[in-house]
Amino acid sequence: MSEDVKRFLDRLSERSANRGPEPSWIAARRQAGAARFEALGFPHRRVEEWKYTDVRNIARGDFVLAKEAEFSPATAATLALPLDAHKLTFVDGIFAPRLSDLADLPDGVQLLPLSQALENNHEAVGGPLGRLTGVDFSPFAALNTAFMEEGAVLRLAPRTVVEKPIVLQFLSRAGEQPVMSHPRILIEAGARSEATVIEHHTGEVAAANFTNLVEEIMLDRGAILTHYKLLESPEQDSHVASMHMELRRDSRFTSFNLCLGGGLVRNDLVSELNGEGAEVIYQGLFHAQGRQHVDNHTLANHNSPRVRSWENYKGILDDRARGVYNSKVVVKRDSSKIVAEQHSANLLLSDRAEIDTKPELEIYNDDVQCAHGATTGQLDEEAVFALRSRGIDEQTARGLLTLAFAGEVMEQVGLDVVAERVELAVAGKLPDRYHLAGLVEAAVALNED
């Protein structure tokens, strides 16, 4: 066992010693996670799945578990999305009731922190927890399982339509010693239910913590779920997350994976399309600068005939940032009449930035229409010229076009608050040379034209 692995496992034993009484099954699952993590160790770059992402900074980190969830309400208010929503907030992985809003939950909606569900041995957790994300998925999933105790549980009764969005907010604090958290999100959408979930990661600028998230989402027949992941973590934060979706007949899952923050980010999105008519839509946008590293892996397993997947990821990379985009479409032998599309476009703003893309297709059936397109390049010079011919200076023109590039994903976002926030963030991250101040004016002038 390497020292790194041992350090993490030591933290686990410290924690286990302080836990109160719990149902026996949860302890057994944690043990399985710990054993698996011990066997696997941290992934290294010789493993194909981690070819472009070096996690040594996480492995070598000395992270502790947070003990309380104190957070300045004023700071929290500035960080939060200005939305009328049902809300669970976690500070460094610990549930913060004062920053949460669980009043007026409509009938048919169960939303509670995982700790509470475990304490009550809630029916929503025993069976489903760990059903989609096994400890074999990755060393990080195993590590999460070993530590799992907090997170969010959302359960929608059949035919429940939730009007207000559901926000799961994760705040990262700056402190003397970096902390780690291993949140677990469990969502079960009953037949023909409908909801929008926003997972929002943000925090204090100086924070340098490690979040290791596992999310399991089950959609029953005809359920419609829109999921936003807005990652605005501090630039020193490390964020590793895996999301597993299971889609039954005629259900639809839409994911907006919007990565703006975090020093080291790794997202794994895995969909199991198990029933006819199921559809998954992956929309993604990442904008990285400085030495940020953003790695997005998506996988769509077409396990049933007549299922559909659609994917569009856009990346903007500046300075010495590095982006990784790996998407995979798998069509099983008996899955006919499959339509799958992957699109990826990347914009490099600096010569020291790098993007590694790998859109994969693994097809075992002939009755399919699968396509992918991936491009990496610069702004269209003709478009720059078109703007310049209207009297906009070159730098502003480039800034506008970069925003428009991101806009192709943003215009699909149904929630204005999220869309505006991301647009502003993208604009804010643009290099100074793009004359930010002029951007808005120019946009207004163009619209008036």
């Binding site: 490099l348 790998k358 859109p359 059936n365 229409q369 396509a371 990496t376």
Partner: protein, 480 residues
């Protein structure tokens, strides 16, 4: 596709399968330093060459076979392979076709390659490799007049040691990969081409390979060097006789293009693919790499892959020179139980380098095929440009087609585009043809040929005709 047609396809036997009995001087199976010394000695090689081989062998011992490819085959017993087999009488090789063993000529007849006719009519010089030793080289004199050296690698080691020393292993180093290391240790023959400065090779150079004696692997080593402003087009084609035991074929091809040089390398590969259970086919593990060393140099790979039980092959271009160009055009057809993991690598190092990748995969029966490609743009490759298109056509619901493209872009002025599609033959296209009185089989052939047109266009004329015929034969009964 109807079941009946499927069965027809499955039962189709390899058309070019037969074994010619020519006495071979074959080494017993096994590989150690003595084997290598024997090969080197047999070839009358100088000391440095033996050392070079042994160095490769020692590296190889430390390596493990690659396991990342999307291929499934039992482990290969490298001690069960015989590493040398040469037709007897190596000293008195025939100088013209009249002196060639009639049995060999007969073999070519059976393959439908009338060597003499082809050589005379098409003006193609043929360095026919029968098993491992070149037995006939024609038009040598004519080429020499132009200053082009075209001979077997063994002759080159003897006659042009300086050139060989300088370039051998400079593109594919001995320890580049498992199979390249093995090849470096035990290669027995292959072609050597040297085109001096400013010379445009007056004819297309062509080699036909045949694997013959049973239980022997073939380890060809090809080295092509084009000096400044030189040009050459090289054709490689292969068929192999039917046999029961799996045969290993681990070739290495190295191309070096200096300033303004242009090398076009075309392959039609039709090794024996194995019977309906995939037994007995050729294992084809090939390392092909071109190095565009000079500014404005250009290397173009065109391949039509229809044979082999296992294909592991990634013809690549290292684009070092400023404004150099790399091209890869490929049609790969897998049928029965064939497996292919093939593609290319384009490494952009120099400024203004450009590359084009067009890959067409057709998978039928129970075959598995994967395109695996890498486009890498280094930080100094300003204005690098790549266009990649890889399309897969699936025929039948038991086959697989996979795409694994790697794009690693480290320059903001680079422009990289990748497109891929996977689908079956369009019902509407078929219907359109059928409605105009075209039979189903013809319609499918037409559509498949149209699908591959972008690549066939790149083949030299003779090969294009052959490739189209080969495609139709390979897919016979597979479509409908």
């Amino acid at each position: 596709m109807s079941t009946q047609e499927m069965e027809q396809l499955v039962q189709r036997e390899y058309k070019d399968g037969f074994v010619t009995n020519i006495e071979s001087e074959t080494l017993p199976p096994g590989l150690d330093e003595n084997t290598i010394a024997f090969i080197s000695n047999k070839k009358g090689e100088p000391e440095w060459m033996l050392e070079w081989r042994l160095k490769a062998y020692r590296q190889w011992l430390k390596m493990t076979p690659p396991s990342w490819a999307h291929l499934d085959y039992p482990p290969i017993d490298y001690q069960a392979i015989s590493y040398f087999s040469a037709p007897k009488r190596p000293e008195d090789r025939p100088q013209s076709l009249d002196e060639v063993d009639p049995k060999l000529l007969e073999t070519y007849e059976k393959l439908g390659i009338p060597l003499h006719e082809r050589a005379a009519l098409a003006g193609v010089a043929v360095d026919a490799v029968f098993d491992s030793v070149s037995v006939v080289t024609t038009f040598k004199a004519e080429l020499l007049e132009a200053g082009v050296v075209f001979c077997s690698i063994s002759e080159a080691i003897r006659d042009y040691p300086e050139l060989v020393k300088r370039y051998l292993g400079s593109v594919v180093p001995q320890a580049d990969n498992y199979f390249a290391a093995l090849n470096s240790a035990v290669f027995t023959d292959g072609s050597f081409v040297y085109v001096p400065e400013g010379v445009v090779c007056p004819m297309e150079l062509s080699t036909y390979f045949r694997i013959n004696a049973e239980n022997t692997g073939q380890f060809e080593r090809t080295l092509i060097i084009c000096e400044d402003r030189a040009q050459v087009s090289y054709l490689e084609g292969c068929t192999a006789p039917m046999r029961d035991e799996n045969q290993l074929h681990a070739a290495v091809v190295e191309l070096v293009a200096l300033e303004d040089a242009y090398i076009k390398y075309s392959t039609v590969q039709n090794w024996y693919p194995g019977d309906e259970n995939g037994v007995g086919g050729i294992y084809n593990f090939v390392t092909k790499r071109g190095d565009c060393r000079g500014d404005r140099s250009r290397i173009s790979w065109t391949q039509v892959e229809t044979g082999s039980a296992i294909t592991w092959k990634y013809p690549s271009c290292v684009l070092r020179g400023k404004d150099s160009i790399g091209e890869f055009y490929s049609v790969a057809v897998t049928n029965g139980r064939q497996q292919a993991d093939t593609g290319t690598k384009m490494i952009h190092i120099g400024e203004g380098t450009r590359s084009t990748i067009v890959s067409k995969g057709i998978s039928a029966g129970r075959a598995e095929q994967a395109y695996r490609g890498q486009v890498k743009v280094g930080p100094r490759a300003k204005g690098a440009r790549n266009f990649t298109q890889c399309d897969s056509l699936l025929i039948g619901d038991q086959c697989g087609a996979h795409t694994f493209p790697y794009m690693e872009i480290g320059n903001s002025t680079a422009q990289v585009e990748h497109e891929a599609t996977t689908s079956k033959i369009g019902e509407d296209q078929l219907f359109y043809c059928r409605a105009r009185g075209i039979s189903e089989e013809d319609a499918v052939n037409m559509i498949v040929n149209g699908f591959c047109k972008d690549v066939f266009q790149e083949l030299p004329m003779e090969f294009a005709v052959e490739a189209e015929a080969l495609l139709n034969v390979t897919l016979e009964g597979a479509v409908g």
